[in-house]
C-alpha cells in the first residue's frame, strides 16, 4: 500500500516539546498536535531523562487529557449541605479567590499556623513552600512523609545524597546492580533503560523483594525476603565483608568518618559523640605521629581501627572499630540473619562475596585527571562497579531509615560511592552531611517565617517544639515523636487537626493529594473525621480547600474546590531548587508550557498561588509600594532570585541568555527553554563527574552554582553523631532539650542508633504474630501511577481490579485456590478481597497492587466500575496510629526517627469468606457527579483524523 502514510496530516500538525507529568519521572516529550488535540506523544530523543523512550503512562496522556474526570470550574459546597454529600455549586474564580483571600488574610493576621497547606505529588514544591513561608505558617509539607522520607533522610544523613532524585547507579559502567524493594512507579524510564544497559553488557541484576513482578521479573537472581527485614540482610552482608576484610581501606580513611574517634563513656554526658579538639575538629589517631590529630587534616595518617585513652582519661574508639565490633557480632552472621530475613545463609554470604569480587577484582578505571579536596592530583578515577537502588519497599517501614542507612553502609564499605560504575550523585547533590538548614520554629502574625518550614535537625535544639516540649506543627514533625521528619507527616494532619492535638486549625488546603482515599492510612475513619463536627456544630476542620485537576475522592469532601489544569495546559518549572531531574553527568532542569488551549474554566495552581500571594501582599510577591512584584507565574519564575543570579530555572540566564546556572534574570528565558525542547542541561567537565564529595573541581563548581555554600569536602558519615545527640537526650544525658515522657525517652534511646541496626517494625512489635501470620505490602503496577490512572480509558483496560497475591504452595497448604474470596484482617480492620496464588511471592507475604480500588462515582467512572466493586485498598487495614498501649499516649504509626508512614509494616490473617460472600468489602456510597460533569461515552473512538 504505497498510500500507507498519506493520511497523516503533517501540514496541519504542530510539534511541541514539553515535560511529561503522568508520573514524577518527568521525561521529555515530543507532542504532535492537530486541531488543539493530541495526535501523538512520544519520548524526546534528546532529553537527558528518557532519551526518546516513553512508558505506558506517558503514551496514555491523551486519555488523561480527554478524561471526563477533569474538573471544569471552581466549586463550592452547596450552602446548607453537609460536607461529603457531594452537593456543589459552580462559582466564579473571582468568588472563589475572594472567599479564600478573605479567610486567609484573617488567619494570617491572627495565627498563621491555623492555615495548614499540604501538597501531594506537587512538582513545584519550592513555590508552595515559599507561599507557606511568606504566609508565616509552619504547617506546610509535601507528601514525602508517606512516600520516601526514610530513603531521602538516610541518604542525606549518610552520603549527602540519596536514591532516585538525588542519585543513580552508573548505568553505563556498573556490573552488578542490587535493587531493594519496590521501585516500579518512580524513576520509571531511566531505570528500565539502565537495566537493559546492564544486562546487555552481561552485568548481574539482583532483585531483593518479597514479590517477583515488575523489574524483579528480569532480575538474574530474585531474593524473596520477608518485608521489613532489609536492614538485617544488608548488615549481615556487612558482617560477611568485615569478617573477610573485604572493604575499601583507602576509601574509608579518606572520605568517611570511619577513622574519627568516638568517646566511649557509657552513662555519661558526651558518650558516643565524636572526640573533638577545641576548635571542634574531629580527632583521629595518627599512625605515624602516634598522636591525636585533626581528622580533617589532609596530611594525617589516621588509624582505621583502634582504641585509645584521651589525656583526660576517656576511652575513645574509631568509628570503624565500633562498626566492626557491632557487625562482627554473631547476631549478624548469615545463619542468624537468615532466620529473620527468610533468605538462606548461603545466599547472603554469596551475594556479599559476589559484590566484593566485582568491587575489588573487576575494578574499572577512567583515565581522567582530577584534583581532590586537598589539592592532590589523581590521574584516574577508580571505579568499583557495584550499584544499588532502593525505594518505598525499604522506606515505608518504621525501621526504614536505619535499613536505608544499612544499605548505604554496604555501598560505602565497597567504596562504590560516586565512583565509576557505582552509585552516583546528581546535581545539586551531594550536599554536606547532614544537610544544612534547620526547620523554622517561629510563627507570628503577618510575618514570614525566618527559615524554610522543613529542614535537617542535627540536635534536639533544632526540634520544632515549645518550651514544654509540645509539638508546634500540626503534623508533629520535628517533635520527640518524629525528630528528623524532613518531609513532614502529611498522613497525620487530618487525625491531629480533628483531635485538636496539638491544636485545632481553621483552614486545611490539599493540593493534588488524595487524603480521603489512597493517600491516607485508615481511609474510612479519615472520611469520618473529615465529616466530624464539634459540639458547636462546626466541622472539626472548619474549612477544607482541595486543589486538583480531577474529581478525586478528596474533592468530594471539599468546601472549596479550585480546579487545576492538566500538564499539557500550563507553565511549570522543574527546578534545581526543588525536585531535581539532573543526571549524574549533567545538571538539568526543564519546563512545561501550554500545548493545548483551555476548554474549561480552570487555572494552573501555580498561577493561582502567585495571585493569592499578591492578593495577600506577601512580601516576596509585593513591591514596597504595595503593587504586585510579578505579573503571574511565568513572570515570577523569570525574575525571582533566591540569591543573586540563582533562580528557579538554571539555564539561559543573563540578560542575553548566555549564562548557565548563575546569572541575572533573562526576560526571554521561557522562550529559550521552549526553543531548546523544554529542558536545559549543563554537561559537567569530565574531571568533576566522580568522587564529587571530595573533588575540588566539583566542590568549587557547586559553590559557584549555588549548590553548596562552601567548597569544603563532604565527609560521608558512617557514624551519625546527630542521631547520637538525640539518643543522649533520650537517655537523659544531653545538655539541651530532653523529652519528658517515658515513651519518648525509650524511643530515642532505642531507635536513635548512630550505627544502623535492625529492629522489628514498631507495629509488628505490638501485634500477635501467630494471629496475624502474613506480612502485607503493596506495589504499584508500572503502567499506573498513584490514583490518577483509574480514569485513564486505556490504562484501566490493562488493570481495573486488583487481587490479593499469595504464594501458591503456602496458599494451597491452607486450602485456598485461585479466585477465592477471602477476608483479610489486621489489628485495625478487615477487608474482603479476591485471592490469586502465584509463584513469585515470598511465603510469609501477601501483596496487592496499590490504589486500584476507587470510591464509586469518582475519577469520572460510572457507578459499578470494577475499581469500586472489585478493586480494593489495603489502606483500611492500616492504622495511622500504633496499637494502643496502656498508659501511653497514642503514637503515630511511623518511623520513630523520620516520621515516615509505616504502611508496609502491616501484618494480617487471611481466611476464606463464607459461601456466597463475594465482592469487595467495605464499599462506599456512590459519589454523585459534579455540576456540569460531561457525559461518559459508552464507546470511545479517539481519532484526530476526524475533525472534532
Amino acid at each position: 500500500m504505497s498510500a500507507a502514510h498519506q493520511g497523516e496530516h503533517h501540514s496541519e500538525q504542530e510539534i511541541k516539546y514539553s515535560t511529561c507529568y503522568m508520573c514524577a519521572c518527568r521525561c521529555g516529550i515530543k507532542v504532535t498536535i492537530e486541531d488543539n488535540r493530541v495526535r501523538f506523544i512520544q519520548g524526546n530523543r534528546n532529553h537527558p531523562i528518557n532519551k526518546g523512550v516513553l512508558c505506558a503512562k506517558g503514551s496514555a496522556g491523551i486519555m488523561k487529557q480527554c478524561s471526563p474526570a477533569r474538573l471544569r470550574s471552581p466549586l463550592m459546597r452547596k450552602p446548607g449541605s453537609e460536607r461529603g454529600s457531594g452537593e456543589f455549586v459552580e462559582i466564579s474564580w473571582d468568588q472563589a479567590l475572594d472567599m479564600l483571600t478573605e479567610r486567609l488574610a484573617r488567619i494570617r493576621a491572627t495565627d498563621p499556623n491555623k492555615f495548614a497547606f499540604f501538597t501531594g505529588r506537587d512538582q513545584m514544591q519550592a513555590l508552595s513552600r515559599l507561599f507557606a513561608e511568606q504566609f508565616g505558617t509552619l504547617n506546610w509539607s509535601a507528601h514525602g512523609g508517606f512516600c520516601s522520607v526514610n530513603m531521602a533522610a538516610a541518604g542525606l544523613y549518610t552520603l549527602g545524597y540519596a536514591f532516585w532524585e538525588f542519585g543513580d547507579p552508573d548505568w553505563d559502567r556498573t556490573k552488578y546492580f542490587m535493587l531493594w524493594g519496590v521501585a516500579e512507579d518512580h524513576n520509571s524510564n531511566p531505570m528500565k533503560i539502565g537495566i537493559e544497559k546492564l544486562k546487555s553488557r552481561g552485568g548481574k541484576f539482583v532483585g531483593i523483594n518479597p514479590a517477583r513482578t515488575g523489574y524483579q521479573a528480569v532480575a538474574d537472581e530474585w531474593v524473596p525476603i520477608r518485608p521489613g527485614t532489609d536492614a538485617m540482610l544488608a548488615l549481615s552482608m556487612v558482617h560477611v565483608l568485615l569478617s573477610r576484610e573485604l572493604f575499601d581501606w583507602e576509601f574509608l580513611i579518606r572520605y568517611t568518618n570511619a577513622p574519627f574517634l568516638v568517646v566511649q563513656t557509657p552513662g555519661e554526658k558526651g558518650d558516643g559523640l565524636i572526640y573533638r579538639d577545641e576548635a571542634g575538629h574531629p580527632l583521629a589517631w595518627d599512625l605515624k605521629k602516634e598522636a591525636f590529630v585533626n581528622g580533617l587534616d589532609a596530611s594525617c595518617h589516621p588509624a582505621l581501627f583502634g582504641e585509645h585513652t584521651t589525656p583526660d582519661g576517656r576511652t575513645v574508639k574509631t568509628v570503624m572499630t565500633l562498626l566492626a565490633e557491632r557487625y562482627l557480632n554473631e547476631r549478624f552472621a548469615p545463619e542468624n540473619a537468615a532466620k529473620i530475613c527468610g533468605v538462606p545463609a548461603g545466599t547472603i554470604e554469596r551475594l556479599a562475596l559476589e559484590m566484593a569480587h566485582i568491587a575489588f577484582k573487576e575494578t574499572i578505571e577512567i583515565p581522567v585527571e582530577w584534583t581532590d579536596w586537598a589539592g592532590r592530583k589523581h590521574d584516574k578515577f577508580i571505579g568499583r562497579p557495584v550499584s544499588m537502588h532502593a525505594m518505598r519497599g525499604v522506606s515505608a517501614h518504621s525501621n526504614g531509615f536505619q535499613a536505608a542507612r544499612a544499605i548505604h553502609f554496604l555501598q560505602i564499605l565497597l567504596g562504590t560511592i560516586d565512583c565509576p560504575g557505582g552509585f552516583r550523585a546528581k546535581a545539586p547533590y551531594p550536599r554536606p552531611v547532614p544537610a544544612p538548614g534547620k526547620p523554622a520554629r517561629h510563627s507570628a502574625p503577618n510575618t514570614p517565617l525566618d527559615a524554610h518550614p522543613l529542614g535537617f535537625p542535627t540536635a534536639p535544639e533544632d526540634l520544632v517544639i515549645d518550651d514544654e516540649g509540645r509539638p508546634l506543627r500540626i503534623d508533629k514533625a520535628y517533635s520527640w515523636e518524629a525528630p528528623i521528619a524532613n518531609h513532614g507527616l502529611m498522613h497525620m494532619v487530618i487525625t491531629n487537626a480533628v483531635k485538636g492535638d496539638p491544636y485545632p486549625i481553621d483552614t486545611l488546603l490539599f493540593f493534588m493529594a488524595n487524603m480521603a482515599w489512597n493517600s491516607s492510612m485508615n481511609t474510612a475513619n479519615i472520611q469520618d473525621m473529615l465529616r466530624e463536627k464539634g459540639p458547636d456544630g462546626e466541622y472539626k476542620i472548619p474549612f477544607l480547600v482541595v486543589v486538583d485537576a480531577f474529581h478525586s475522592e478528596t474533592v468530594h469532601f471539599a468546601d472549596l474546590v479550585l480546579p487545576d489544569t492538566t500538564y499539557l495546559e500550563r507553565y511549570d518549572a522543574i527546578s534545581l531548587l526543588d525536585r531535581p531531574i539532573s543526571e549524574p553527568d549533567a545538571v538539568c532542569d526543564s519546563i512545561r508550557h501550554p500545548l493545548l488551549a483551555l476548554d474549561r474554566d480552570v487555572r494552573p495552581w501555580q498561577e493561582v498561588l502567585v495571585e493569592l500571594s499578591t492578593r495577600l501582599k506577601l512580601p516576596a510577591f509585593t513591591n514596597p509600594d504595595g503593587t504586585p512584584k510579578y505579573k503571574g507565574y511565568k513572570d515570577f519564575i523569570t525574575y525571582y532570585e533566591r540569591e543573586p543570579g540563582i533562580g528557579f530555572l538554571a539555564g539561559y540566564r543573563g540578560a542575553d541568555g548566555s549564562k548557565s546556572l548563575r546569572g541575572e534574570p533573562n526576560p526571554q528565558q521561557w522562550e529559550r527553554y521552549i526553543e531548546n525542547q523544554g529542558f536545559f542541561q549543563y554537561h559537567l567537565p569530565k574531571g568533576i563527574r566522580y568522587m564529587r564529595f571530595a573533588n575540588q573541581g566539583y566542590l568549587e563548581f557547586a559553590k559557584e552554582a549555588g549548590f553548596l555554600k562552601t567548597a569544603e569536602p563532604i565527609i560521608i558519615e558512617l557514624y551519625s553523631e546527630a542521631i547520637q545527640r538525640f539518643r543522649l537526650a533520650g537517655l537523659g544525658l544531653y545538655d539541651g532539650p530532653m523529652p519528658k515522657e517515658r515513651v519518648d525517652q525509650e524511643r530515642l534511646a532505642t531507635y536513635f542508633d548512630p550505627l544502623p541496626d535492625y529492629y522489628e517494625p514498631l507495629e509488628q512489635q505490638r501485634v500477635d504474630k501467630d494471629e496475624y501470620p502474613f506480612f502485607a505490602v503493596n506495589q504499584r503496577p508500572m503502567m499506573m501511577y498513584h490514583s490518577w490512572d483509574s480514569q485513564n480509558a486505556w490504562l484501566r483496560q490493562i488493570i481495573a481490579q486488583n487481587h490479593l497475591y499469595m504464594n501458591r504452595a503456602r496458599g494451597e497448604s491452607l486450602g485456598f485456590k485461585d479466585e477465592d474470596w477471602v477476608w483479610v484482617e489486621s489489628h485495625n480492620g478487615k477487608i474482603r478481597v479476591q485471592l490469586r496464588l502465584i509463584e513469585g511471592c515470598q511465603e510469609d507475604t501477601v501483596w496487592t497492587w496499590n490504589a486500584i480500588g476507587k470510591q464509586s462515582g469518582t475519577w469520572g467512572l460510572k457507578p459499578g466500575a470494577p475499581e469500586a466493586t472489585q478493586g480494593f485498598l489495603m489502606n483500611h487495614l492500616i492504622s495511622e496510629l500504633l496499637p494502643e498501649k496502656p498508659g501511653e499516649r497514642r503514637l503515630t504509626n511511623s518511623d520513630p526517627i523520620t516520621g515516615q508512614a509505616a504502611w508496609y509494616d502491616l501484618r494480617v490473617k487471611v481466611t476464606r469468606a463464607a459461601p456466597g460472600e463475594e465482592g469487595v468489602w467495605p464499599t462506599f456510597a456512590n459519589v454523585p457527579p459534579l455540576p456540569g460533569a460531561p457525559a461518559k461515552p459508552d464507546v470511545l473512538r479517539y481519532n484526530t483524523r476526524v475533525k472534532a
Binding site: T213, R796, Q797, I798, I799, A800, Q801, K817, D818, E819, I838, E839, G840, P866
Partner: protein, 344 residues
C-alpha cells in the same frame, strides 16, 4: 470457539439442504424405490433451496460489515470460505433451473432433469466439502484440523437430507422401508463418524503453553493476561464447555440426532403415525444442531494457550481421572483446569 448461532445455522441448514439435493438426485438417478414423483421432487428441491437460503442468510448475520459481503468471492483461489461462497452461489441457478424444469415439464426422469439434478447435487456436495474445509484447513484449531470434519459434514448433511426425504416419502405413502432404511443407515453412518471424531479430539495435543511460549523446561502458568476484562480474542475464542456438560450434550446429540429419528422412521414403517413422523427430521435438526454447537464450543483455538487455558476440555487425562476432575469441577472445586480468570 464462539458458538454463534449464525455459523451454527449456516452449516446446519445449508448442509441439510445440499444433502437433501444430493439424496433427491441419487434417488431419482437410480429410481430407488421407484424414485420420486416430479411434484415431490419439486417440493423437495424447493425445500433444499429454502434450507440453503436459511443457512446463507443467517451467515450474513455473522458479518460485522455485511456491505462488503459481495467481495467474499474474490479470493476463491486460496480461501475455502470464498470457494464455499462461489459454489453456494453457483448452486442456485442450477438448482432453480432443475426445479423449474421439473415443475414446468412435470418430469424428473429426462436427460435434462437428470443432468440438472446431478449438477446441482454435485455443486451442493462440493459446497459441503468447502464448508468442511473452511474449518479443517485451520491449523490453529486442533479439533477442526482433520479430514474428519468434511467427512462429518458429508455424513451429517446427507443423513439430514435423507431423513427429510424419507419423512416426505412416509408422509406421502404411509410407509416405505427402502428409503427409511437408507435414511437410518446414513444416520447410523453419521453417528459412527461422529463417534470417531469425538474419540479423536480426546487425544492429547502436542502444543502446550510451554511450547507456545518456548519455555519448555519448567511449568508455565499465566500470571496475568494483561487485561482485566474480555477482549475480542477472549470473546471469539475462549468459549469452552465443562466435560460433564459436554457429555450430556453428546448424549442429547445421539438421542435426538440419531436414535430418535431412526426410531420414529422405523415406527412409521410399521404403524401409521401420521404427522408425528415429522418429529424425525425436527429432532434430527435439533440433535445435529446440538452437535454443531459442540463442534464450535469444543474447538479450542491455540491462542487460548496464551490466556492460560487448556487446548481442549481435559484432553490429556485418562478417562477415569477425567471423570474425577469433572466431578470436582461440577462440585465447584479447583478451577485451575478451566481457569475462571475470564470475566465474560
Amino acid at each position: 470457539m464462539n458458538p454463534s448461532l449464525a455459523v451454527i445455522f449456516l452449516t446446519l441448514f445449508s448442509g441439510a439442504g445440499f444433502g437433501l439435493m444430493a439424496t433427491v438426485a441419487v434417488v431419482n438417478d437410480f429410481a430407488i424405490d421407484g424414485g420420486l414423483s416430479p411434484l415431490r421432487t419439486a417440493i423437495l428441491v424447493a425445500l433444499a433451496l429454502l434450507l440453503v437460503t436459511m443457512g446463507m442468510v443467517s451467515s450474513t448475520a455473522h458479518l460485522a460489515n455485511p456491505k462488503n459481503a459481495w467481495r467474499a468471492f474474490t479470493r476463491w483461489r486460496t480461501s475455502w470460505l470464498a470457494r464455499e461462497g462461489v459454489f453456494a452461489v453457483l448452486f442456485y441457478p442450477v438448482a432453480i433451473a432443475y426445479l423449474g424444469w421439473v415443475f414446468f415439464t412435470n418430469t424428473d426422469r429426462d436427460g435434462v432433469a437428470l443432468a440438472l439434478g446431478n449438477a446441482a447435487a454435485l455443486i451442493g456436495l462440493i459446497t459441503i466439502f468447502c464448508q468442511g474445509m473452511i474449518y479443517a484447513c485451520l491449523r490453529t484449531i486442533r479439533q477442526w484440523h482433520t479430514p474428519l470434519v468434511p467427512a462429518n459434514f458429508y455424513a451429517l448433511g446427507l443423513a439430514l437430507g435423507m431423513t427429510v426425504l424419507a419423512t416426505s416419502r412416509v408422509l406421502a405413502r404411509g410407509h416405505d422401508l427402502v428409503l427409511v432404511s437408507t435414511a437410518s443407515a446414513l444416520l447410523v453412518a453419521a453417528a459412527v463418524m461422529k463417534a470417531i471424531y469425538y474419540f479423536w479430539i480426546g487425544a492429547p495435543s502436542g502444543t502446550t503453553l510451554q511450547t507456545a511460549t518456548g519455555f519448555t523446561r519448567g511449568r508455565v502458568r499465566l500470571l496475568d493476561q494483561g487485561h482485566t476484562f474480555g477482549t475480542f480474542l477472549t470473546h471469539e475464542f475462549s468459549n469452552s464447555i465443562s466435560p460433564v456438560r459436554a457429555r450430556y450434550f453428546k448424549i442429547g446429540v445421539y438421542l435426538l440426532g440419531f436414535l430418535a429419528p431412526i426410531a420414529i422412521l422405523l415406527l412409521a414403517t410399521r404403524t401409521p403415525i401420521g404427522l408425528t413422523v415429522l418429529l424425525a427430521p425436527v429432532l434430527a435438526f435439533i440433535g445435529i444442531g446440538l452437535e454443531r454447537y459442540l463442534f464450535f464450543v469444543e474447538a479450542q483455538h491455540v491462542v487460548n494457550l496464551y490466556h492460560g487455558r487448556m487446548p481442549g476440555p481435559l484432553p490429556q487425562m485418562h478417562p477415569a481421572l477425567r471423570a474425577h476432575a469433572a466431578d470436582a469441577l461440577s462440585a465447584g472445586k479447583p478451577g485451575r483446569l478451566v481457569p475462571s480468570y475470564e470475566k465474560r
